[in-house]
Symmetry: C2
Amino acid sequence: MSITVVGSVAFDTLKTPSGVREKIVGGAATFFSLSASFFTDVRVVAVVGEDFTAEHESILTKRGVDTRGIEHSKGLTFHWGGEYGDNLNEAKTKFTDLNVFENFQPKVPREYLDSKFVFLANIQPTLQLMVREQFKDAKLVGGDTMNLWINIAKPELLETLARVDVLLINDTEAKMLAGDSSLPRAAKKVMDMGPSTLVIKHGEYGATIFFKDGHHPFRAPTLPLDVVQDPTGAGDSFAGGFMGYIASQPELTKQVLKKAMFYGGVMGSFAIERFGTERLQELTKQEIDERFNLFRSLTHLD
Amino acid sequence: MSITVVGSVAFDTLKTPSGVREKIVGGAATFFSLSASFFTDVRVVAVVGEDFTAEHESILTKRGVDTRGIEHSKGLTFHWGGEYGDNLNEAKTKFTDLNVFENFQPKVPREYLDSKFVFLANIQPTLQLMVREQFKDAKLVGGDTMNLWINIAKPELLETLARVDVLLINDTEAKMLAGDSSLPRAAKKVMDMGPSTLVIKHGEYGATIFFKDGHHPFRAPTLPLDVVQDPTGAGDSFAGGFMGYIASQPELTKQVLKKAMFYGGVMGSFAIERFGTERLQELTKQEIDERFNLFRSLTHLD
C-alpha cells in the first residue's frame, strides 16, 4: 500500500574524507522516498525552489515516486553544507540556507489522502501534526525529529508525538527527549509520550525497536563496512526501508516490524556507500535481498 | 577442558548512581574466573596481599575455581577506586594503589600447565607473554589489553599479540591500537598484528567478532537493561563467558565462537546488575540459559 512522506527535498554540499560534492540532491524526504520505493508506492510532499530542475526531480520519478506533492516555489531550494572528519559519525554544519523551506506550508494533494501509511520526516512539529491530521484513515504513522525541536519546540513536539505510532530517533535524541541517560529508561519515557513503538538508531551499531505493550525489544544490525563515502541520509534511508517494507505487507505484526528493522539497516548501509543518493539510484532488489541475508548471517546463530 | 587465567585479583572501592561499596573483591581475573566457572574448570594466577583473607578467596573457591596460583605476598592488595556518573559507560579513576601488584611476577603452578585454554587478562604485555610461553600445548590463547599499554608499551604489546589467538578489546582500544578511526579497517589492522580472531566490545551495543580468514563478522547483543548498578567487570565477565564456553566444547568451530559471543554478552549483562561480583556469586545455570534464549529472541527473526 502507498506511503506518503512529508519532509525536505534539498541540495547538499558535502565534504567527507572520500571527496567533495557541490549542490547534489539530498533532503530527508528524498532519501526516504528513494529507499521506500524499493518496497511500495511512495508519494512525497515537499517544497523546492526555481533552481530545482526537472532533471533533479527525475531522481525521484525514475524510481516511480509520485512528486505531485512537491511544490515549486519562487526562490532557491533549501541548501545544506556539511563536512565530515575521520569520525564519520558526526557532521559539522558549514551553512544552512533554508530558502523556500523557511516558509514551508505542506500542501497534501487530495490524491494522496488515501495513503494508509504516513511518514513525518524531520520538520517543525506543528507542520508534522498538520499533515498527520489530514490522514484520517492512517494505519501507521511514523515520525522523526531532531535536537533543535526538542530544545525550542518541545510543547509542539509533544502534541505531535501523541499522534505518532512509530517514532524513529537516535540515541542522543532519545536521551535528550526523555531527559534520561539510560537508554531503556529513556525508551519507556518516550513511549509514554505517545508512540506505541520506538526505534532507536545506534549509528554503526544498528538499531533497537521497543514496544510499549511489553513485548521484548529487538535489535537489528548494520554491516561493519570498509568504505563509507558519505553518511548523509543514512537515518532517512533506514526509515524508508523500515516504513516501506511495513507498507508492503498485508498485516502489521511484530514479525513484520522486526523484518522491517533489518530492511531499515540494509537501506541505511547502502546509502552511505556512495555520495548522496548515488547508491540508492542504481540499487537493485537483488542487492537488497543479498544484503538482508548477509545481515541475517551476521546475527543469527543458525 | 580447563582454562588458566592470569590477571588481577583486587579490591575495588566504587561509587555509582546506585550506591557505594568499600573495598569489595574485584579485579579482571576475579570476574573472568567467576564467569568462566559456569562453563568449565578455571585456574587463576594472581597476587594478593596480607589484607586478602580466606573469606575473600572463598568467593572464588565456592565456585570451584582453583586458587593455588594466587600468591600471597607481603603488603597490601591492589586497590582501585572509581566513580561512575549518570553516563555509566565511563569510570573516573579516583585512585590506583598497585601495592603488591606493582612487582607482580606471575608464577604458574606446574599443575596448571596442561590447560589447553589460557586467558591473559589486562596486565603488562611482557608478563602476558611470559605466561603464554609456558603453555606449550595451548589450543586457544585469549588476551585483553588497555590504552595504557598501547601508549607506553607498544613494542612489547606487539610481541604478545603475535602469540595471541583471540584478542578481546573495546572500540576505543581497537581504533587506538590500529591508528584508524574506522572500526572494520581497524579490525583488519589489529588482526594483521597476530590474532586470527578479534572480538570488539561495544559496551551497551553488544560486541562483534572478526575473523582473519575472511569469514563474515558476527555480532552478539547485550540486553537493554533497566537497572545497571555497577558496570565494573562487564568486559572481564564477557571474556569469562566467551572463553569458558569455548573451553567447554569438544571442537573449536565458527559456530562455537558465535555461541560464545552470546554467552559473553549474557555474562557481562549479569555482572552489571549488582555491585562487584555480587550477581555472579548467586547466579544459576538456569538463569544463564534463560538469558541466552532472551538474547536470541532479541536478535533472531525466527
